[in-house]
Amino acid sequence: MKLETAGASALAEKEMSVHTVSDISVEVVSDSGEGAQKCGTIFGSVSAKMGNGVWTVEIIPAEVEPPPRNPAGASGIRIRLGDKEVTNWGDETNVIVAFNEQALLGRHDLNALADDAVILLENMWATHPDPAVRKEWEDAMERLSHRSYRIIEVPMEEQCLTVVDNARKGKNMFALGLLTWLFDRDLERTKEQIAFAFRTKKPIITENNIKLLELGYSWAEENLDVRYVVPGMEAAGPMVVMNGNEAIALGAVAAGLDLAAMYPITPATSVSHKLGEIFEKYGGVLHQAEDEIAAAGVAIGASYAGKCTFTITSGPGMALKTEFLGLAVMTEIPLVLVNVQRGGPSTGLPTKVEQSDLLAATYGQPGDAPHVVMAPATIGECFDIMTTARRIAEALRTVVIVLSDANLATGVAPFPRPELSPEWQAGPPDQRPIPAGAKPYDWDPETGLSRRFIPGQAGGEHTLTGLAHDERSKVAYDSDTVQRSMTMRSRKLAVFQSTLLPPEINGDPEGGDLLIVGWGSTKGAIEEAVGRARKEGLSVSSTHLTFLSPLQPGLKEIFGRFEKVMTVEINYSDIVGDPYITPENRRYGQLAMMLRAQTLVDVDCWTRVLGEPLRPGKILQAIRQHMPGGEA
């Protein structure tokens, strides 16, 4: 959309203009702790209830409490609204509410704002008693004036102090009032959503928040001259709205997983927060262990005892669990590990998105430890994937790693309400007495599969060991046994791959000039970019992989239909032409590396590690550049 612009001016005296838009992005930014995310989440939920497509992305500084009024510490949320399904956070923000000019500068510096963005900016800093603050304001205004933003100053502090003593605790609801009027949201629904959001707080808090909402709404009504209409759509059925971590938690419950063991780690922790609210009601056990390693041990132990369990973590935690993952693979104990990826290495970017754990998840265990790796691409899939992961883990007696990421973890979007089935909650393992002569690793030589023995099962007595072992679970170092047992554990993956179907092609299945291959949360952005590119007449298609180990079948044949294949990922890759970087020593994106090794196709890659989700516009630029014969 193209917004009207009025430069960096105060509110102009003119008639109301109403823009009907099909797609618009809004941001609320503040210092950490001022509740911008709460404001945006409520706004997004109300918009979803009113039939809009919605995708939210939280903008969270890496530090827990960064210094105030610091561009690098901008904390907030982007809400993209549409008149149809929204699958990603889009390109630039069209409307932004900023609680101070430094947070705004942080977004400006990252080119997050459209050139004609409308900015509603708290103006208390312009007249702040501290001359240094006034100087910062003036400098910021000067920098912002080089763009065509329309800045509207809003006396947020002054207004909020008429309701609450501490405006810092109220501006977010005042801002919600501004947005509610600006986007013609249903005021009553917004009040209901506030009541829901603060249902566990004292009633006085909800009452004050509603007063602040009304205050913001009235201020906007009296003072703003622009309004946006985003038409709603007809939903085919009942919908639910949640973020990816909540979806994983609910999906785990629906899948009948018995136990979750975890240790808190950003951005995965909120999975366990949700489980903490509900898991026990449905017969589950949530265990917070003393550390990541113990969490894996608890999950493996419970699974060994006959349950099906999962553990939740992020990249650094997965590294700590590595040895235990090997144990689960070696002892063939079913286990689901959810890794909500964040930026790395080391502590890295705890609150920011990356897809940099793919190789670690697939190959990161010492020794050869074949297991399954899969990745959801949408928030709805975060729910569904848990059932599938559980079933695969049990059927194969192995580890299944589910790779989510920070983009899905905190992104909120509506999706059709799952139609739950008791079939998802597969029954307990077969505990009939073990027939005489049966062994705990009676590998079927064709498939590598064997019956799971449960401790206490009659006739199934054996010693469990992480050492190399034979079919009877006896430690065995002889060459034949080592080779045979390794073959059997690996064979299971091949057997499983034989049950997988080739991935679908978005665009032209017959082939074309360029095929984009993605995985995980980038699906929405990639498909939007491919759609735009195809409208430009470019012969480009995309495919999105959900099974990464083993890879889905048919990839080589699919790649052969396209002149060029390129992955798009949120992890690091070298750019040929940079100092010292040659085609020979170039490090590729992680999926690209795997695809090149597996298919021997010269798969290219375009990857970025910007600490934010990929923007479809940037992917579109990359597509143009990487078309056969293009600049790249």
């Binding site: 009942p238 017969g283 194969l396 089935s421 077969d430």
Partner: protein
């Protein structure tokens, strides 16, 4: 206390009480019906042809697998083709019969305590009877696992005493409406049943002691004495076990109060007394009767601490009301947001 029957029809009160418990009744019926369906599906799958096994596999894998996995091939991995033994099939059929009998109807939610009978025993018998549901479910699990030993496990196909119910089973407990005569209203023995999500409403005609339920007040138990059927909704929706005493009319000598575990941290915050009878004097030197002890107990619990000014409107956060409808997880999902009327 004097004892006499009023002319009011307790049948109407019973109907109203059952109606107040409808969400819990539906939740129980739904759980039982789901269990029956699971048995049927399981038996069919074990008897079934390979096509059915493929269908079963894709159902067990869930929606994520649709279009991504070949169900027929995956069914091979699941190994769901093993046939049931005749013995196991017999156990499943018997369990299905039992469960089917509890999947609808309200008769087992309604208990009448005959004159002179023991209230606690009546409730215990009723719960033990319904416990067949959980016993049958356990028998199903054992039969499915191949662990059902007739000598040891046939007991599960008859009544299952409440004390043997596990935590999950107590969460699914069916609610009871108990008609009891005022002279037989001795509810202290019900304490052992107030666990999980057990809900008991005692319907009584005529005068009673002032606060017979006071001794059942514990921090995690919802307790209400009332003559207003509308006040039973709190009991039904509370995520705690609870007991109610429903009077046929309001009498000065009967206390009316609610103890809601979610209403505060202290007893006085949790208890709302709408009517406290005057405490009759007891002759000097006489031992305090039990019914007076109960009233004094209620007064002591409800008494606000001296020197603490409580803001009646704002001090006590209202507890989130949790509906417990038939499909609890579906309801939870819907609670995230209901977009049933988009664009409205």
């Amino acid at each position: 206390m004097p004892s006499e029957n009023s002319g009011l029809d307790s049948g109407d009160l019973t109907v109203a009480a059952l109606k107040a418990l409808t969400p819990r009744v539906e939740a129980f019926h739904s759980a039982v019906a789901t269990a029956v369906e699971e048995i049927r599906t399981f038996v069919t799958s074990r008897r079934g042809a390979s096509e059915y096994r493929a269908e079963q596999a894709i159902m067990e894998l869930g929606p994520f697998a649709v279009g991504r996995l070949n169900a027929e091939k995956f069914a091979f991995l699941l190994g769901s083709g093993e046939r049931l033994s005749t013995e196991a099939e017999g156990v499943l059929e018997r369990a299905e019969e039992i469960l089917d009998g509890f999947s609808m109807g309200e008769e087992f939610h309604h208990v009448v305590v005959g004159p002179g009978e023991d209230l606690r025993d009546a409730v215990k018998d009723a719960l033990d009877h319904v416990g067949q549901v959980f016993g049958a479910s356990r028998a199903v699990e054992l039969a499915r696992d191949g662990r059902f030993e007739p000598d040891e496990h046939n007991v599960f196909l008859s009544s299952l005493a409440f004390r043997k119910w596990n935590r999950s089973e107590r969460q699914l407990a069916p609610p009871l409406v108990v008609e009891v005569g005022n002279e037989d209203l001795l509810p202290a023995g019900l304490g052992e049943f107030l666990d999980g999500l057990v809900k008991i409403i005692l319907v009584v005609k005529g005068p009673t002691t002032p606060a017979p339920l006071a001794r059942l007040i514990t921090p995690g138990t919802y307790v209400v004495q009332t003559a207003d059927v509308a006040e039973l909704s709190g009991l039904a929706s509370s995520p705690h076990p609870g007991v109610a005493l429903l009077f046929d009319e309001e009498r000065d000598e009967q206390a009316r109060f609610v103890h809601d575990p979610d209403a505060g941290a202290t007893p006085s915050q949790r208890i709302t007394v709408t009517h406290m009878p005057e405490k009759p004097s007891v002759g000097h030197g006489r031992r305090t009767p039990v019914w007076l002890e109960e009233l004094e107990h209620l007064e002591a619990l409800a008494k606000k601490p001296a020197g603490v000014a409580l803001d009646v409107e704002g001090a006590v956060p209202s507890a989130p009301v949790e509906e417990v409808p038939a499909d609890r997880l579906a309801a939870l999902l819907l609670a995230q947001v209901d977009l049933g009327t988009p664009g409205a």
